[in-house]
């Protein structure tokens, strides 16, 4: 059995995959595409809670597919502990797809919950939320929560992901809380029967 990689090894692997094995697109194109997606959802649903749900659901679908790409390109093996999962997600996952490295922090005492703290967020370049979006409780980058949930479910982890704070809403930092509900044992993921 290979020993679990150290934090430095995760980081190095992430950088290596980003540099050599990943095709890149223009950042502005990406940001503008996501922006018009959110604005269209807002126009269609007119209810910010519903928009949050839709973003999360879209993220979920993306995450289920993205995990395969992630595993293939990074070549990483099974994570021994949830802590390794957290490091792999932040140092390799986010690095590979967005070239950002959120910090893992605020572990709960049972080591089943952690926070991802984002210094930068490529989705929100140039974005300023209007008043009613702020009041309505829109989490602009809620797609991240879905992606994490979908991806981890495909590797037998059921998690709950929620936004805690967002710089776009005037908070000090952008933070997502990830909570491990349980490990899935050879079950069909919920909602796919």
């Amino acid at each position: 059995m290979a020993t679990a990689p150290s934090a430095k090894q995760f980081k190095a692997l992430g950088e290596e995959v980003w540099k050599s094995k990943v095709e890149k697109i223009n950042a502005e194109l990406f940001t503008l595409t996501y922006g018009s997606l959110v604005v269209q959802l807002v126009k269609d649903y007119e209810d910010y809670t519903e928009v949050n749900k839709q973003l999360e659901q879209m993220g979920y679908n993306i995450g289920q597919r993205l995990i395969e790409d992630f595993l293939a390109r990074s070549g990483i093996g099974r994570c021994v502990e949830f802590r390794d999962t957290a490091e792999a997600v932040s140092k390799i996952g986010f690095k590979m797809f967005l070239n950002i490295a959120p910090n893992v922090a605020n572990w709960s005492s049972d080591m089943k919950e952690f926070s991802l703290i984002f210094d930068e967020n490529p989705l929100t370049e140039f974005v300023e939320l209007p008043e009613d979006a702020l009041e309505g409780g829109l989490w602009y980058s809620n797609i991240y929560c879905g992606v994490l949930r979908g991806a981890l479910e495909m590797v037998q982890m059921q998690v709950e992901t929620t936004f805690v704070s967002d710089v776009l809403r005037g908070d000090d930092a952008t933070e997502i809380r990830v909570k491990l509900t349980r490990y899935l044992e050879e079950e069909v993921p919920a909602g796919e029967d």
């Binding site: 940001t31 922006g35 370049e125 140039f126 974005v127 300023e128 939320l129 979006a133």
Partner: protein
């Protein structure tokens, strides 16, 4: 002495007012609205008469009393107007061009906001944009006063 920016105005492609910032206390906002509005005619004349005009910077549009009005129009027909108080000294084109480039960058950042509706013809109501325009004005004003 010092040449100060008194006002920066942005006018939309349908000649609707997009934004106006008054930096001076000598004249009320309304006067600058009037100045910006008259500038539209001058800009349209300039552009119509010279179809070979490839430069976004239009130079001095006109002068009145102690104010000089400079213009700049993007390819999408959005117009920027800068009103400068002329006390002494020559204002170089290069300086005005830098100012307009900064305004243009601020405008670009604003329109990239997905929540900003380009077609609505409403004026720009964004804190980040206001801050950027104020910074341009403050920067130029402090800079010129130190050039004594």
């Amino acid at each position: 002495m010092s040449n100060e920016i008194n006002c920066i105005a942005l006018i939309g492609k349908q000649n609707n007012p997009l934004y106006l910032k008054n930096f001076s206390n000598t004249h009320p906002d309304l006067k600058y609205h009037y100045i910006a509005h008259t500038s539209i005619d001058v800009i349209e004349e300039r552009v119509a008469s010279g179809p070979k005009n490839l430069d976004l910077y239009l130079g001095l549009l006109y002068a009145m009393e102690d104010l000089a009005v400079y213009g700049y129009m993007t390819n999408t027909r959005v117009k920027f107007v800068a009103v400068v108080s002329v006390t002494e000294g020559i204002i170089r084109d290069a300086e005005m061009k830098t100012i307009f480039k900064k305004i243009h960058s601020a405008y670009l950042s604003q329109i990239c906001n997905p929540f900003y509706n380009l077609d609505s013809q409403q004026s720009i109501d964004s804190k980040a944009f206001s801050r950027a325009i104020e910074a341009i004005g403050a920067n130029t004003n402090t800079k010129t006063t130190m050039d004594i």
